[in-house]
Symmetry: C2
Subunit: 125 residues, 2 copies
DNA sequence: CAACTCAACTCTTACGTTAGGGTAGCTTTC
DNA sequence: GAAAGCTACCCTAACGTAAGAGTTGAGTTG
C-alpha cells in the first residue's frame, strides 16, 4: 500500500515530465505567481506536491482557451475560494469566465474548420 | 456591368475590413515580406489588388495551423511555383507541408477536446 | 474650373507585451 | 562526481499601441 508519505514532494524535473511542460514554463509560472512550489529544499530546489501537480494539469487544460496567464491566476483563485465560501459575486465572476471560455471554444472550432479547408486546398494542388 | 477598372486598387483600410485583419498585421506582413502591396500611391499609401486580397485570405486560413510567418512565405512561394512548373522536389516540399499541417490539425482537435473538458469542469463548480 | 479646406485615412518610427526558449556560470543533490 | 537544479540575463515572434507628420479626395469657395 502506497502511503501518502512515500512521495510527499517532487522536484521540478519530475513535475515537468508528468505534465509534459518544460522546466522553463514551470519556472515562469512560479515567477509570475501562477503556480508557486509548495516548498523549497535547504539548497533552494523547488518542491511540488500532488496538489501542485493537479493544479498544473488544470492550467494545462486551460491553455487552449488562450486566456492570459494572469486571468488564469484569477480564475484559479475564484475556484479555490468558491470551494469554501459560496459568495454570489464570485459566482458571477465564474459565470463570466465560463462565457469567455465558451466564446473561445467557438473560435477554436472555427479555426479547426479553417485548418481543414486549408488542408484540402493544399491537397488539391 | 462592373468593369475591371472600377476597383483596380484598394487602400489598406478596405483590405483590413474585408479580411478582418488589423492594419498593423497587414503592415507587419509587408515589413517581413509575406504580402507586399502591389503598388503605392505618389504619397506613399499602400495599394492592394483583388489578387492580394485572395492571397491574404489564404494566409488567414493558414494561421490556425500556427506556422511561423516565414514558413508561410515559403509555402506560398511553393504553391505559386507549382502552378507553372511541376518540379518533383517542390512536390516533396509541399507534401512535407501537408504532413505538418495534418499534424497541427490533430493538435487543434486535441486542444478543442481539452477546452471542452475544462468548460464542463467549470460548469460543475 | 482652379484653389482651398478639412475630416478621414495612412505613413514611419519606436518602444511595449506575452509566453516562454536558450545560455552561462554556479550550487545542490544523490 | 554526474545529474539535476538554481538565478540572471538576453532573445524571439507577432503583433499592440502611441506619437507626430503627411496624403487623399470630396466638398466649398472665389
Amino acid at each position: 500500500m502506497e502511503s501518502e508519505t512515500t512521495r510527499p514532494m517532487m522536484h521540478i524535473g519530475e513535475l515537468a515530465e508528468r505534465t509534459e511542460l518544460s522546466l522553463r514554463t514551470i519556472r515562469h509560472y512560479d515567477e509570475i505567481g501562477l503556480l508557486k512550489p509548495s516548498g523549497r529544499t535547504e539548497g533552494g530546489f523547488r518542491l511540488y506536491t500532488e496538489g501542485d501537480y493537479a493544479r498544473l494539469m488544470l492550467i494545462r487544460r486551460m491553455k487552449p482557451l488562450g486566456f492570459p496567464l494572469e486571468d488564469m491566476s484569477e480564475l484559479l483563485r475564484i475556484i479555490d475560494t468558491l470551494k469554501h465560501d459560496g459568495g454570489s459575486e464570485l459566482r458571477e465572476q465564474l459565470d463570466q469566465f465560463i462565457d469567455r471560455a465558451v466564446e473561445q471554444r467557438v473560435k477554436l472550432q472555427h479555426q479547426l474548420d479553417m485548418a481543414d479547408e486549408f488542408i484540402s486546398l493544399l491537397r488539391s494542388q
